[in-house]
């Protein structure tokens, strides 16, 4: 799973968000390191919807702008959990090796 995909799923883990909300949350989660542009975001969202990891939650019109909210599906939550576990295991392995080499992480 690529980092933007991981961050999008993470952004949707606790609540449904609209496109711009996801963009803001991804920027916040990554500490400003990852910034999604609208076209890139929707390409990723389309793929995640196709894979049933994300679903459309509801639509609202705010200030005459259509906002469609997306939420994580059960399969999406499972995928995020598995990916988190995989990354955590990688991090733990890296830390062990660094400790052994005398480098503090």
């Amino acid at each position: 799973m690529q980092e933007p995909t991981f961050l999008i799923l993470t952004a949707l883990a606790d609540e449904a968000r609209h496109g711009y909300g996801v963009m803001q949350e991804v920027t916040a989660l990554s500490g400003g390191r990852v910034t999604l542009r609208p076209g890139t975001l929707y390409a990723a969202l389309d793929r995640l919807v196709d894979e049933s990891l994300v679903a459309v939650d509801r639509e609202e019109v705010v200030n005459s702008r259509l906002r469609r909210y997306y939420r994580l599906t059960g399969a999406g939550a499972t995928a995020l959990r598995d990916e988190s576990a995989r990354l955590a295991a990688n991090v733990a392995a890296a830390r062990r090796r660094l400790r052994r080499a005398g480098v503090t992480a």
């Binding site: 496109g19 711009y20 076209g39 702008r65 259509l66």
Partner: protein, 325 residues
């Protein structure tokens, strides 16, 4: 006009790169949200939206629910018309007569010009036709293998390339020079690529609707029947007899019916009829664009009659079947 209004308008304009529907509206809104306080979206954001919008179009875009089964029917009609066109182009390409273009009469099928006379004014069109025919076959093969994007691009390029090249040959003159060759090829490719972006969502729908065996059967039958029809073309054999003319167009109409029947059997009645009507119209359009039969009013009437007649027969059969059910 206030600043937000101006921003919204510009964002909507940029989002037009996306296929129509709610997604386009949504992208425009998000683009505007991301650029609040500005008069226009950032260049990088706009480029990103245009790029992904075009990619979305090439991949088939967001399926539109507005047209439903009619959209499927029209989509399949586009595909089968293009496959037929490519098959016909393959036949035409085998009949190129190798003589300098300046020696050709105004009408390539003038009596006395003989069997095997040129339907193309120069080799350039023939080359384009051969490439188009190969692309047409490749499209069917790719579709069968599930390579949908490749199939879409190849199918659209094949049919539109032929139409554009032949049409361009009327505009650029009949002499075979490097300039006219380049002009024709460039025109064919650019028009094909441009229209490809518009046509591919329809082709994508067809790829989703039509099972792979349909592609194999229809491509094979279309090629075989178009070959037989063209071999019997009275303008090529120089006779112009009514029986041969009728047989020729009956076979072309048969080709349309054969390739449409599988879809009509699995789709609702109206869409089957829509397929035939649209196919007839497209075949007619292709023939008019071709230019080789434009002065033959009776030929056009015959094609239209067969297209409409076939649609009527199929529609009647479907209605009867539904009533019995």
């Amino acid at each position: 006009m206030t600043r937000p209004d101006r921003l919204d308008r510009r964002c909507r304009w940029v989002a037009r790169a996306y296929p129509g529907g709610a997604r386009r509206v949504e992208v425009a809104a998000t683009l505007a949200d991301a650029n609040d306080g500005r008069r226009a979206p950032r260049l990088a954001d706009a480029f990103d939206v245009v790029w992904h919008g075009l990619v979305a179009r090439l991949r088939g875009g967001t399926p539109s629910r507005r047209f439903g089964v009619w959209g499927d029917a029209a989509a399949v009609a586009v595909v089968q018309a293009l496959v037929l066109q490519a098959a016909t182009a393959a036949v035409l390409a085998t009949r190129v007569y190798e003589k300098p273009a300046s020696e050709y009469p105004l009408y390539p099928y003038r009596p006395g010009f003989g069997r095997g006379g040129p339907l193309f004014y120069s080799h350039a069109e023939a080359y384009v036709a051969v490439v188009a025919a190969v692309l047409g076959v490749a499209a069917a093969v790719l579709a069968c293998r599930g390579r949908v994007l490749g199939a879409r691009v190849a199918t659209a390029t094949a049919g539109l390339g032929v139409a554009a090249a032949v049409a361009a040959s009327r505009l650029t003159g009949n002499e075979y020079t490097f300039g006219s060759f380049a002009a024709r090829v460039a025109a064919g490719l650019s028009v094909a690529l441009a229209v490809c972006v518009v046509v591919t969502p329809a082709v994508a729908r067809a790829a989703a609707v039509v099972p792979s065996w349909w592609w194999r059967v229809s491509a094979g039958l279309a090629a075989a029947i178009a070959l037989a029809a063209m071999l019997w073309d009275p303008y090529l054999v120089g006779g112009g007899r009514a029986t041969v003319l009728l047989a020729s167009y009956a076979m072309q109409a048969g080709a349309l019916l054969v390739v449409s029947a599988p879809l009509a059997l699995r789709a609702p009645a109206v869409s089957g009829a829509a397929v035939l009507l649209a196919t007839g119209a497209l075949a007619l359009l292709a023939r008019v664009v071709d230019g080789s039969h434009t002065d033959m009013a009776h030929a056009r009437v015959l094609e239209a009659t067969f297209g409409a007649g076939g649609a009527l027969v199929l529609l009647t059969a479907a209605v009867v079947t539904r009533r019995r059910a």
